[in-house]
C-alpha cells in the first residue's frame, strides 16, 4: 500500500499558528494562518480547519488575499516561491518562483501585477523590501525574477512594515527610526527618536507599525508601551505625533479598524485595547485573553478581529469585543516536565501546556482538545516570579485516573509540593479533582506510576522521591453519612538504605514493582510489599527503568547515567546483557515487546528499537534530530500498517513521536501525517454553504425530529454523534461534484431510500452501533484489551456514512433495486 523502503523523520503538526498575522477572507467566513510549511484555512464560526493548503517546501512566511480577487490567496515561503491559491477548493493555482528566501509578503490594491516581499541580501541582518512583478501567464509555474528595490535596512518581521493610503506610501520602522517611502514622489522621510542616551528614552525602540486606512496617519508601537500617532509626515520638519500610553510593557502589535475610527493594540498584558477616535480617554478593553498578544488582524468586512497569542492560539473576536472562537494549536512551553503521555481514552497526546495546565492535543486533527487546569491559580505574568510548576503527571486505569504533581521552590529549604488525583467523570467528560495531598514527600518527587495491570481490582499509585522513600497510594472508600466517596491514602512507605529513589515502574501484570535507588534497582512484590531482590551494576545512577512486555515480561531494563543499558532477567536474577548506549529517552511500546531508546551525542540523536530478549536492535535510525531529544512516546495506530520489511515491522501497530529541545514534535513515517487527517473538512465546508432551499427545510425538520428521538433514545452516558453525519446518503449526494455524480435515476433511489428508511435504519443501524460496542465491552471479558480499544477507535474516527453504505443488508439492497425501478422523475421537476 505504501512504498516500503523509506521511513523518514517528519514534522507532525503542532507548528506555530502565531508566526504571522492571521488573514480573514473578504466575507469573514474563513481565517487563514500560516502553520509550518502549510497554510491553514479555518472557519471563523466553527473553529474547524476546513483546508490545509500544502505545497510549500519550507516555512510559509506570509499570506495575503489577492486584492484583485478576494477568493484567492497569495502565500510566500522560505523556499523562494509565491503561490496563488483558490482557498475555497484548496487548489494551488500558480507558483511564482522568485529565487530569494522570502521573509514577508505585502499586497497593495492598486499595484495589480506586483506584490511586495522582504528579502535578505548579503549580510544576515540586512533586509530589503522589494516589489516583485508577477507576470501574467497561463502556465502553472512562472519565473518572476523582476525585482525592484523599495526600501533598505528594514526589519525582517512584517510587523515592522505597513502600507498606507492605498499604497501611496510605505512605513517601515527599525530600532529608533521610522522611514516613510512615498511611491509617487519617490522620496523617503526618516524620523528618529532619541535613543538610549538618557534613561528616560531608553526603551523608545519601535516594535510595530500600522497605517490608517483613510487618513495620513501612522501608528507605531514602542518598547516602553507607548503608541505614537504620526501625522504630517510628508514634511520632514512639520511632522507631529501624539502619544497614547496604556500598556506598561512592549506594544506587540497594532491594527486599525477598517474605517479607521478605532485602533487596536495588544501586548504582554494579554489585554486587547481598543482606542476609539485615537483619543487617550476613550478606550475599551478585552482583558484576560490568556497569553501575550503577538498579532492583531482585522477582517476586511470589519465585523471581526483576531488576536494571535504566544500560546499558539488564535482568538476570533467580534466587533463589540466579545471573543467568539478560539483556535488552539499545540502549546509550546519551554519547560516540558511531564513528558509525553497518551490519554488512553481519547488517544490524545498529553503534556504541559499553558503554565499550570495539562494540554490534551489531538495528533490526528492537529488541534488542542482541551486544557486541564491543574494548579487552579491565577497566573501572574511577571519576570522573576517563581511560579507553581506542574512537574509530573500519569494516567492510570485506562484513563480513569490522573495523578499530577506540582511544586514551587522559592528557596533551597522551602519546597511546596502537592499531589493531586483526578477522576474521570463520564457525565461531564472530564477530569474532576478527587484527592489533594499536600507534601506527599519531603523532597522532590522523581517518578510517578500507576499499576496498569488488568487484574488489579484496586487502583494503585507509586511515587518515588528524593527523600529516599517510595510511597504506595491506594484508592479506599471515603464515604460518610452524607455521600459515597472514594479517596486515595498512603498504603506503604518503602526505602532502601536512605538512597534517593529515582525511578519506579510496575511490571505489565502488576505483580512486581521496580524502584531504583540511585545505582540500585530493587524489586518489590506488589501483594505484600516485600523486597524480592536487588540489582546493582555500579554503572552510575539509574536514569530510566522499564519492564519488558508480552513475551519479554521477564526482563527488566535500566539505563544509567554513565551510558550503560542493562537488561536483567527476573527469573534468573542475573544480568542478561548490557550495551554501551547513552540513553536519553527509553519508551516501551504498549502494543508490542519493542522498546525504543534514543541516545544523544554531539553528532545528534540516534534511535534504536530493540526487543529486551535479544541484544541486537531491530532498527537503527541514525541522526533523527540534530538536537537533543527530550521525550518520546509510542502512540497506538488507529489502523494497523502492514510493513512487511523486518526493520519496519515495529511501526505496524504503533507510531513513535518525539519532542526535541526546541519543541518540535517529530515522528517517523513513510508518508506525511497530514495525508491521514480525517477528510471531514471538506464536508464541513459544503455544509456551511448549504443554501436555504426547500430541501434544506425538509432536511432541517427531519433532523430536528431525529435529534429529539435520538435524545429520547440515548439515556445512557454515551457521547452523541455529530448530527451532520446522520444521513450519509444525502451528504454523499450533496458533496460530490456534479460532474462525477452517477445518473440521477440511481441517485434518486438512494436519496429517497435514505429518507424513507431513516426511522427504521437509524434505530436499527446507528444507535445499536454504539450500544453494540458497549455490550461488547461488557461481554468480551477483556483478554484482548488492545483489540477492543482499536475497535472503539474505528467507530470513532472512520466515516460513519461509508460504513452504512457498505453495511446495507441484502434485503435492503433488494429494496433499493425495487426503488430504482420506480419512476422518480417528478423530483427533477422540482
Amino acid at each position: 500500500m505504501v512504498e516500503r523502503e523509506c521511513v523518514r523523520v517528519v514534522r507532525c503538526g503542532g507548528s506555530e499558528l502565531n508566526f504571522r498575522r492571521a488573514v480573514f477572507s473578504a466575507d469573514s467566513k474563513y481565517i487563514f494562518c500560516v502553520s509550518g510549511d502549510f497554510v491553514k484555512v479555518y472557519s471563523t464560526a466553527t473553529e474547524e480547519c476546513v483546508h490545509i493548503l500544502q505545497g510549500h517546501r519550507n516555512l510559509v512566511t506570509g499570506i495575503q488575499l489577492n486584492p484583485n480577487n478576494h477568493l484567492q490567496l497569495y502565500s510566500c515561503s522560505f523556499d523562494g516561491t509565491i503561490k496563488l491559491w483558490d482557498y475555497v477548493d484548496g487548489i494551488l493555482i500558480k507558483t511564482f518562483i522568485v529565487g530569494h528566501k522570502l521573509h514577508a509578503l505585502f499586497t497593495v490594491a492598486h499595484a495589480e501585477d506586483s506584490v511586495f516581499v522582504t528579502i535578505n541580501k548579503e549580510k544576515p541582518d540586512i533586509f530589503q523590501l522589494v516589489s516583485v512583478k508577477l507576470p501574467k501567464s497561463s502556465s502553472q509555474e512562472i519565473e518572476s525574477k523582476e525585482l525592484s528595490f523599495v526600501l533598505d535596512y528594514i526589519n525582517q518581521s512584517p510587523k515592522y512594515i505597513a502600507f498606507g493610503n492605498e499604497g501611496e506610501y510605505v512605513a517601515a520602522v527599525r530600532d529608533f527610526s521610522l522611514s516613510v517611502y512615498f511611491f509617487k514622489k519617490k522620496t523617503t522621510s526618516r524620523f528618529t527618536l532619541s535613543s538610549s542616551r538618557n534613561k528616560k528614552h531608553a526603551k523608545n525602540n519601535f516594535t510595530c507599525v500600522a497605517c490608517h486606512p483613510k487618513e495620513d496617519c501612522i501608528a507605531t508601537g514602542h518598547k516602553d508601551g507607548k503608541i505614537r500617532l504620526w501625522r504630517n509626515f510628508d514634511d520632514d520638519k512639520k511632522y507631529t505625533y501624539t502619544c497614547l500610553h496604556w500598556h506598561h510593557d512592549m506594544v506587540m502589535d497594532l491594527a486599525f479598524s477598517v474605517t479607521g475610527t478605532s485602533l487596536l493594540s495588544g501586548g504582554r498584558e494579554s489585554v486587547l485595547v481598543e482606542w476609539r477616535d485615537a483619543a487617550e480617554k476613550n478606550k475599551e478593553f478585552l482583558p484576560r485573553l490568556g497569553a501575550t498578544i503577538e498579532h492583531i488582524s482585522v477582517s476586511p468586512a470589519g465585523d471581526l478581529f483576531c488576536t494571535s497569542h504566544s500560546d499558539n492560539k488564535i482568538i476570533v473576536i467580534h466587533r463589540n469585543l466579545e471573543a467568539s472562537a478560539v483556535i488552539q494549536g499545540l502549546v509550546k512551553d519551554s519547560n516540558i516536565f511531564t513528558g509525553l503521555m497518551i490519554d488512553p481514552r481519547t488517544k490524545a497526546l498529553v503534556l504541559n501546556g499553558k503554565p499550570g495546565h495539562l494540554q490534551f492535543y489531538s495528533l490526528q486533527s492537529d488541534k488542542q482538545l482541551y486544557n486541564l487546569d491543574i494548579v487552579q491559580q491565577e497566573y501572574i505574568n511577571d519576570y522573576g516570579l517563581i511560579q507553581i510548576e506542574l512537574t509530573k503527571a500519569a494516567f492510570g486505569c485506562y484513563g480513569n485516573w490522573l495523578a499530577t504533581v506540582e511544586q514551587r521552590q522559592e528557596k533551597e529549604t522551602e519546597l511546596e509540593l502537592q499531589m493531586k488525583l483526578w477522576m474521570y467523570n463520564k457525565k461531564t467528560q472530564g477530569f474532576v479533582l478527587n484527592t489533594k495531598v499536600n507534601m506527599p514527600h519531603e523532597d522532590h518527587i522523581t517518578a510517578l506510576c500507576f499499576c496498569n495491570a488488568e487484574k488489579s481490582e484496586n487502583p494503585t499509585l507509586v511515587t518515588a522521591s528524593k527523600d529516599g522513600h517510595f510511597k504506595v497510594w491506594i484508592l479506599t472508600d471515603d464515604s460518610d453519612i452524607y455521600k459515597k466517596a472514594v479517596g486515595w491514602t498512603c498504603d506503604f512507605v518503602g526505602s532502601y538504605h536512605k538512597y534517593q529513589a529515582t525511578n519506579c515502574c510496575f511490571s505489565e501484570d502488576g505483580s512486581l514493582l521496580a524502584v531504583s535507588f540511585e545505582e540500585i534497582v530493587t524489586i518489590w512484590d506488589s501483594e505484600t510489599w516485600e523486597l524480592k531482590c536487588t540489582f546493582c551494576q555500579r554503572a552510575g545512577k539509574i536514569r530510566h527503568l522499564c519492564f519488558g512486555r508480552l513475551t519479554c515480561s521477564k526482563y527488566l531494563l535500566g539505563a544509567t547515567e554513565n551510558g550503560i543499558l542493562c537488561c536483567w532477567n527476573l527469573l534468573s536474577c542475573a544480568l542478561e546483557w548490557s550495551a554501551k548506549l547513552n540513553v536519553r529517552v527509553m519508551e516501551p511500546d504498549l502494543n508490542s515487546e519493542n522498546i525504543a531508546a534514543i541516545s544523544h551525542s554531539s553528532m545528534g540523536s540516534d534511535l534504536f528499537v530493540f526487543k529486551p530478549s535479544e541484544p541486537r536492535p531491530l532498527y537503527i535510525q541514525k541522526n533523527i534530530s540534530r538536537e537533543e531529544v527530550q521525550w518520546g512516546v509510542f502512540v497506538p495506530r488507529d489502523v494497523p500498517e502492514s510493513f512487511t520489511s523486518e526493520s519496519y515491522r515495529w511501526l505496524n501497530r504503533s507510531q513513535f513521536y518525539f519532542l526535541t529541545k526546541s519543541q518540535s514534535l517529530l515522528t517517523l513515517s513513510t508518508k506525511s501525517p497530514e495525508e491521514k487527517l480525517t477528510p471531514t473538512s471538506k464536508q464541513l465546508l459544503a455544509e456551511e454553504s448549504l443554501p436555504t432551499t426547500p430541501f434544506y427545510f425538509i432536511l432541517g425538520k427531519h433532523r430536528q425530529q431525529q435529534d429529539e428521538k435520538l435524545n429520547a433514545a440515548l439515556e445512557n452516558e454515551l457521547v452523541q454523534l455529530p448530527l451532520t453525519e446522520n444521513i450519509p446518503a444525502i451528504n454523499e449526494l450533496l458533496h460530490t461534484p456534479a460532474h462525477v455524480l452517477p445518473s440521477a435515476s440511481f441517485l434518486c433511489s438512494m436519496f429517497v431510500n435514505s429518507l424513507l428508511l431513516s426511522k427504521e435504519s437509524k434505530s436499527a443501524e446507528e444507535i445499536p452501533d454504539d450500544v453494540d460496542m458497549e455490550e461488547e465491552k461488557e461481554s468480551d471479558d477483556s483478554d484482548e484489551e488492545n483489540d477492543f480499544t482499536e475497535k472503539v477507535q474505528d467507530t470513532d474516527n472512520t466515516d460513519l456514512g461509508e460504513d452504512i453504505i457498505h453495511q446495507l443488508s441484502k434485503s435492503e439492497e433488494k429494496e433499493l433495486r425495487k426503488f430504482r425501478k420506480v419512476d422518480y422523475s417528478w423530483i427533477t421537476a422540482l
Binding site: 493610503n165 487618513e215 495620513d216 504630517n232 507631529t240 505625533y241 502619544c243 506598561h248 483619543a279 480617554k281
Partner: protein, 611 residues
C-alpha cells in the same frame, strides 16, 4: 581653583526689624565647618542661608505681544511682569502688585498698551515707560473675569460678574465706555473676538454665547454638556473660548473637554476629552493652525490642524503632544509664533519652543523654566552683617551673628554707588548706563548703549571700574575715571565668552568685589556662583568651563595649565544671593524649590501606574 562651597551656615539669628513681626526662628546647621585645602583663592567660611521664606505668587494670566515680542505675566498677588523674549527672556519690567488688585485678565492693545482687569471691578492701564499705573477705571459691572482687545486693537471688551459684556473704546490716553451687550444670566468667564471683528464668543457657566458686535445681541447660545465620563457634575464652567476666522469656536471647560462649535449654526462639531480635571486656558496661534490648552492636572496639550491626507485639502484638528512641565493648575497659556508659553499655580513660567518652527537649533530653542525674578531680592550690609530680604509686600531684616540689628533699604532700580561715594551708576529700562558724579550731581559719562538690557551693575572699590552684566550674559568692565572700557573688557570682547557661559539661561543678578583682591570680580546667577580672576588667561571654547573642584592628588602642573579666569561653583542651587561679608566669609542665600512647592496648595492627585 575655587575654595568656596564647603562651608556651612554658621550662626544666623533672626531679628526682625521690618514692619511685620515674624515669629522668632532659629536656623542653625550643626554640620562641622569643613575647610578645604588652602588654595590660591583662599578659603571662605560660608553662611548658607536658607531661611529666606520667599514664595513667588502663582501666575494668573499671560499675554503675548507679537509686535514687540514681549510677554506680560500677571501673578495672583497683582504683580505684573514684562519679559523681553528677544533679550534672552529677560524680565525687564516689573509692576509690584497689591492685595486689593488681583488680576483676572490681561491684554495688550494697539500701540503696546497693556491693560489688566480684576476682581475689584477696575480696568487698569499700565504705563510701561514710567513703570506705574496710568489710571484705574471702574467698569461698574462687579468683578471683571475676562477681557479681550479687538483684533484692530481699538476696542476693549470686559466680561463681568453680573453677566454683562461691556465694550470700551480705547482713546489715545484713556478708555471710554461705549455700550453693553445683551446681559447674560451668569458671569462671563471668557471672551474671544472673531479675527474679522464682527462677532464675539463669550463663555459663561454651562453655555457659550455668540454676540454680533454691530447689534450687540446674542445670536447663539450653545449649551455645553455637563456630563463628565457619564457622571453628571454640578456645573460646567467655560474657562476659555477662542473664535477662529472660519467661524469655529473652540471652548475649554471644567469637565475636561475641548469642544469645537460651528458659530453659524450653533452646533457642536467635535469633542476631545483631554483631562479628568478642568481645562483652564486656551491660546490660538496667529496662523490659526495650532492652539494650546492648559489643564488643572498640570498638562499642556498642543492641538494642530493637519490635512487628512496629503492629496486632499480637508483638514482636521488633532491633539498632538502633551507637555507635563507643571505640577499644578496651568492657569494661563500663550502661543507665540515659535513657542508655547504656560504658567500656573506652581509659579513657573515655562517657555517651550516648537521645534518645527525653529529655524536653527541653538540654545534659544531649548525649554526654559523661569521661577525666580530676574532681580536681586536680597541686599547685605557687610559691616553690620545684615541681610535684607525683599518680599512682595514687606521687607525683612535678618542678622547674621549676634550684633544688634539696624539697616538700610537699598533702592529697587538698578543703581550702583561706588564704595567711596563719588560715583553713581544708573540703568533705566532702556539700554545704556549713566554714570553720575555724586559730589557735583552731574552726569559724568554714559556707557555706550547695548541692545540687551542690563541685569546687574557694580562699581569696584579701588579702581572705580563699573562692571555691567547684560541679559545675553555679556559682562563689560568700564573704567569711570577713564570713560572707556578697560583693557580686560576689550580682550574678553575680542576673544568672546565661552559658549557654555553664553548658554546659561538665568541672568546675572549680583556683582560684588573682593576688598583685598582687586583682580577678582564675584558674580552669580540662580544656578552658579563665579569668581572672575582677571589675572588668569581667558578660557576658549576648547577648555573646560565648569572646572570641577580640585581632585586631591592632582599635580600643580596640570592645575596651572587648566586654570583660567572663570572659577565657577554650582553647589548652591537655586542661588538668590551671594556676597562677601568680609574677606574670609561668604553669605549665600538659597531658596530650594521643594520648600516653595511645600507651601503651595496640593496639586490634583493623579494615580500613577505602579504606585
Amino acid at each position: 581653583m575655587l575654595a568656596v562651597g564647603w562651608g556651612w551656615l554658621t550662626d544666623a539669628r533672626p531679628s526682625p526689624v521690618a514692619s511685620q513681626l515674624k515669629s522668632f526662628w532659629f536656623c542653625r546647621r550643626h554640620q562641622p565647618h569643613r575647610r578645604c585645602r588652602s588654595l590660591r583663592m583662599g578659603e571662605f567660611k560660608v553662611h548658607r542661608v536658607r531661611f529666606f521664606n520667599y514664595v513667588p505668587s502663582g501666575i494668573r494670566c499671560v499675554a503675548y505681544n507679537n509686535q514687540s515680542n514681549r510677554l506680560a505675566v500677571s501673578r495672583t498677588d497683582g504683580t505684573v511682569e514684562i519679559y523681553n523674549l528677544s533679550a534672552n527672556y529677560f524680565q525687564e519690567k516689573f509692576f509690584p502688585g497689591h492685595e486689593s488688585r488681583a488680576t483676572e485678565a490681561l491684554c495688550w492693545a494697539k500701540g503696546q498698551r497693556l491693560f489688566s482687569a480684576g476682581l475689584n471691578g477696575e480696568i487698569i492701564e499700565y504705563d510701561l515707560q514710567a513703570l506705574n499705573i496710568k489710571y484705574a477705571m471702574d467698569a461698574f459691572g462687579g468683578p471683571i473675569w475676562s477681557m479681550a482687545a479687538s483684533p484692530s486693537g481699538s476696542q476693549l471688551l470686559a466680561g463681568c460678574e453680573d453677566g454683562s459684556v461691556k465694550l470700551f473704546q480705547i482713546t489715545p490716553d484713556k478708555i471710554q465706555f461705549e455700550r453693553n451687550f445683551d446681559r447674560q444670566k451668569s458671569r462671563i468667564l471668557s471672551l474671544s473676538w472673531r479675527p474679522s471683528g464682527t462677532h464675539i464668543a463669550a463663555g459663561s457657566i454651562d453655555y457659550i454665547s455668540v454676540f454680533d458686535v454691530k447689534s450687540g445681541s446674542a445670536i447663539h447660545k450653545m449649551l455645553v454638556d455637563r456630563q463628565y465620563m457619564g457622571v453628571s457634575k454640578r456645573k460646567c464652567i467655560i474657562w476659555g473660548v477662542a473664535f477662529l476666522s472660519d467661524g469655529t469656536v473652540i471652548s475649554v471647560d471644567s469637565a475636561g473637554k475641548v469642544q469645537f462649535w460651528d458659530s453659524a449654526t450653533g452646533t457642536l462639531v467635535k469633542n476631545h476629552l483631554v483631562a479628568n480635571a478642568d481645562v483652564q486656558s486656551i491660546a490660538v496661534s496667529d496662523q490659526e493652525d495650532s492652539f494650546v490648552v492648559g489643564t488643572a492636572e498640570g498638562t499642556v496639550f498642543h492641538f494642530q490642524l493637519v490635512s487628512v491626507t496629503s492629496n486632499s485639502s480637508e483638514k482636521q484638528w488633532v491633539r498632538t503632544k502633551p507637555f507635563q512641565h507643571h505640577t499644578h493648575d496651568v492657569r494661563a497659556v500663550a502661543h507665540s509664533p515659535t513657542a508655547l508659553i504656560s504658567g500656573g499655580t506652581d509659579t513657573h513660567l515655562v517657555i517651550r519652543p516648537l521645534m518645527e518652527k525653529v529655524e536653527v537649533k541653538n540654545y534659544d530653542a531649548a525649554l526654559r523654566k523661569i521661577t525666580f525674578p530676574h532681580r536681586r531680592l536680597i541686599s547685605c550690609s557687610k559691616k553690620k552683617q545684615l541681610l535684607l530680604f525683599q518680599f512682595a509686600h514687606h521687607l525683612e531684616l535678618w542678622q547674621l551673628g549676634s550684633t544688634v540689628a539696624t539697616g538700610t533699604v537699598e533702592s529697587m532700580c538698578l543703581l550702583a554707588v561706588s564704595p567711596d561715594g563719588n560715583w553713581l551708576a544708573a540703568s533705566g529700562t532702556s539700554a545704556g548706563v549713566h554714570v553720575y558724579n555724586v559730589k557735583n550731581l552731574k552726569l559724568h559719562c554714559t556707557v555706550p548703549a547695548y541692545n540687551f538690557p542690563v541685569t546687574a551693575l557694580a562699581i569696584a572699590p579701588s579702581t572705580n571700574n563699573l562692571v555691567i552684566a547684560h541679559s545675553d550674559q555679556q559682562v563689560f568692565e568700564y573704567s569711570i575715571p577713564d570713560k572707556q572700557y578697560t583693557e580686560w573688557s576689550r580682550t574678553i570682547q575680542k576673544q568672546g565668552f565661552h559658549h557654555l557661559w553664553l548658554q546659561r539661561d538665568t541672568p546675572i543678578t549680583h556683582i560684588s568685589f573682593h576688598l583685598k583682591r582687586p583682580m577678582h570680580i564675584l558674580l552669580h546667577d540662580a544656578y552658579m556662583f563665579c569668581i572672575i580672576d582677571k589675572s588668569l588667561p581667558l578660557p576658549n571654547d576648547k577648555t573646560l568651563l565648569y572646572n570641577p573642584l580640585p581632585p586631591k592628588n592632582e599635580s600643580d602642573v596640570i592645575r596651572r595649565r587648566t586654570a583660567h579666569a572663570f572659577k565657577i561653583s554650582k553647589i548652591y542651587k537655586p542661588l538668590l544671593f551671594m556676597d562677601l561679608l568680609d574677606e574670609r566669609t561668604l553669605v549665600a542665600v538659597e531658596r530650594p524649590l521643594d520648600d516653595i512647592i511645600a507651601q503651595l496648595p496640593p496639586p490634583i492627585k493623579k494615580k500613577k501606574f505602579g504606585t
